[in-house]
Symmetry: C2
Subunit: 438 residues, 2 copies
């Protein structure tokens, strides 16, 4: 245990992982990593006055073997006078019921279980080999510096004291110190990719450098330092740029692209939106100008008036299914009711000026209108700009047409052509049921 | 050529690689990469009014084959009406004569040759596969973000238009466009490691992700952005901290460790000293306190009085070989000469107060002295501090001893015990030949 204890001590000290009197829940499967972790923590129990509880999750995947693992951990805890708790889940079936991957579901359940004891710390047995695999895996799938930071030694109340020890070192330490462990015959964590990296790729790197894992560990540490520095700059920048649910683009532009990109990532993640490298490049271009940029489906980023904001666009409103309540009343009745009801009608025009059928559609690129009483013709784009209608809402504004063309923009104006005047006899009123679509 | 042309165009534009009227020297070996590069540049020749000169280096390694490659390139240039120049070197023998690796020597000779034409730009045919190999190679040997930046698309006047095209894409483009090329049967560039990465490791990553190289390319680009941002902060920090051949440590400490480390790297590299990750960690610790830290051999970093500086320390002065010129004169003669010569003697004491033999050595940790006339005893460490003797010079200061202990610090003071006084009859003078050792 000596060497891994020294490495763990260093890491525990560096990240201030353990405090006097901590209540630590340790996830223990019975494998070499978690048994070594448990023994390490037990060696600190007295000195730090730790309360240690071993939490074991039986995933219901390996039948008898899995149940025997749990029994093995339970007996070990009994012999060391350590609190022990276990739950059984049926990971495969339950994951399917919850539409989650088996590993993701299991992870959620594990941490739910660990947190249920309300501990100060949760200790997990991730090691350096796991970390190197994680980094190589992410590299193979595409990542930035953030992905190269690997598994964090500390996240919230989760601590990983063995993160700088290789799997080989831990197994060796168990053998040398007589720490018993069980061997898990399955590995359902991204099974193919991770096993491929562990069994095929890492050994090839070790041919170039037998200390490959430790070497990569230093790289991970160095990248973490860089990332931590950039993060501090990003946090400052975010604080300065963020206001009123949007970002100040001229301020954002004054920062380096490495910072600006991370600020955008942070902003979008607050809406639960993840953005890949390609789209990030597009957004950064957008910040320098104006307009909108589609991230995915109805997720957009809009830049206007010096601000960048996230927008969910209902790009395709089904106007055919909007209920149109048509009503024709006399001009006299209309004028009386207007005064009587003190009501602003959503849409009204001279009924007799309508040509053929009346219907509702969304705007198209070249739509033009001559707003009643204004003596000019303009594109709907220009009109919407004047009216201050958000880009993402424009597609949802109902355009009222007859066989000759546009007769009005619902909620905003009618065309000169159908405007009621002194000769008007009948008024057409329209009511459009927009429901929650805008 | 279409796809690689598009990629090259993008890169050329992004980095502003080519300007109208540029004189471009292209390194061409006859392999697919350099032939594709040449054809790409030729396709831009008219539009950009480029003057293109093909420079070929025959390394004298592959005998007839290598000479035939040169002839092949020469004929191709003739057919395309392109200036052609070639030199032959005997890389293996000449490298040995210059105590350099074959690859390093060849690289130096190549760029010497390219630059001899005084071009605006030197174009080399490095591709994305080379870049990915470089990054994986560095990762296997240990690197920080800087190493993960890979091969730069532009460095000084060197441009690499094909850096985002994979080797496979380039070979395919040559085939599709009928660009002829020769296949190099050797690869002497870090032969084993690079071939191992290319032939064994990269294909395994491609099983996880067929677009592995392009994926890593995006990672490289992202890390480059980060590094470029951090570099700008580092340059500012360096400018603020650097003065009088040293760095201001309290200022340096106010920066993030990621920045501070790079400032130290930059500072030491100005002395031609490279520092690895382990030593860098030590130096960063040192900045928070005081003292000295050994980088390698006689290379030290010294922190004192709020400044960090590089110091070359002669840690082991061979005091036995210092010539000691002993001279005994009467007190009368000494006093007369002092006035006459107006000379400060390097070392003098009451000869009759010396016990046994007199000799010279370097200081040891617990050395103490009672400086004559001061009425106190102190460690040499404290005395040296008072005298403002640089840490790196302390080991070189000769300590004069007799059989009872220290009688003086050469050049600075004698011990109370051997101080001449009114009863002194004979004075012992010492001259120590320090040569260039201090």
């Amino acid at each position: 245990m000596l060497e891994i204890t020294a490495k763990a001590d260093l890491l525990v000290k560096k990240y201030n992982m353990l405090s006097h009197g901590d209540f630590v829940v340790v996830g223990v499967s019975g494998g070499p990593d978690s048994m070594a972790l448990l023994c390490y923590l037990l060696s600190k129990r007295e000195e730090l006055d730790l309360r240690i509880l071993v939490a074991n999750v039986e995933h219901g995947i390996r039948g008898k073997e899995s149940v025997a693992d749990t029994e093995f951990v339970k007996q070990f805890c009994k012999s060391k006078d350590v609190e022990f708790a276990t739950i059984s889940i049926n990971a495969v079936d339950e994951a399917k019921q919850n539409s989650l991957g088996v590993e993701e579901y299991s992870r959620i359940k594990r941490y739910e279980f660990f947190n249920s004891f309300n501990p100060d710390k949760i200790a997990t047995a991730h090691n350096l080999s796991d970390n190197v695999e994680t980094v190589l895996f992410r590299m193979s799938r595409g990542t930035s510096a953030k992905g190269l930071c690997g598994i964090p030694p500390v996240r919230d109340n989760i601590i990983r004291p063995l993160l700088t020890c290789t799997g080989e070192e831990i197994r060796q330490a168990c053998k040398n110190s007589g720490i018993p462990f069980r061997t898990d015959s399955t590995n359902f964590d991204d099974a193919y990719s991770r096993n491929h990296i562990r069994q095929n790729i890492v050994p090839l790197f070790k041919r170039l450098n037998p200390s490959f894992e430790t070497t990569v560990s230093r790289m991970i540490e160095s990248i973490n330092e860089d990332e931590s520095f950039i993060k501090s700059v990003v946090d400052d920048c975010y604080e300065q740029c963020f206001d009123n649910s949007s970002l100040n683009t001229s301020l954002l532009n004054s920062y380096d692209v490495a910072v600006a990109k991370r600020v955008v990532i942070k902003y979008l993640s607050s809406y639960g939106v993840a953005v890949d490298d390609y789209h990030l490049g597009g957004i950064v271009e957008l910040i320098k100008s104006n307009g909108k940029f589609q991230i995915a489906n109805d997720n957009f980023v809009v830049c206007e008036k010096g601000r960048l904001r996230y927008a969910k666009m209902n790009q395709t409103v089904d106007f055919d299914n909007l209920f149109v309540n048509k009503q024709i009343i006399t001009n006299e009745e209309f004028l009386t009711n207007c005064k009587l009801w003190r009501e602003k009608f959503d849409f009204f025009c001279d009924c007799d000026k309508i040509s053929g059928n009346i219907y509702v559609r969304g705007r198209t690129e070249n739509d033009k209108i001559s707003p009643a009483g204004r003596g000019c013709t303009k594109t709907l784009k220009k009109l919407f700009n004047e009216l201050g209608i958000n880009i993402e809402k424009r597609a949802c504004v109902p355009i009222i047409c007859d066989d000759k063309g546009i007769v009005g923009v619902y909620g905003y104006c009618v065309d000169e052509r159908v405007k009621p005047d002194s000769s008007t006899k009948n008024i057409l009123l329209l009511k459009i049921l927009l429901e929650d679509k805008i």
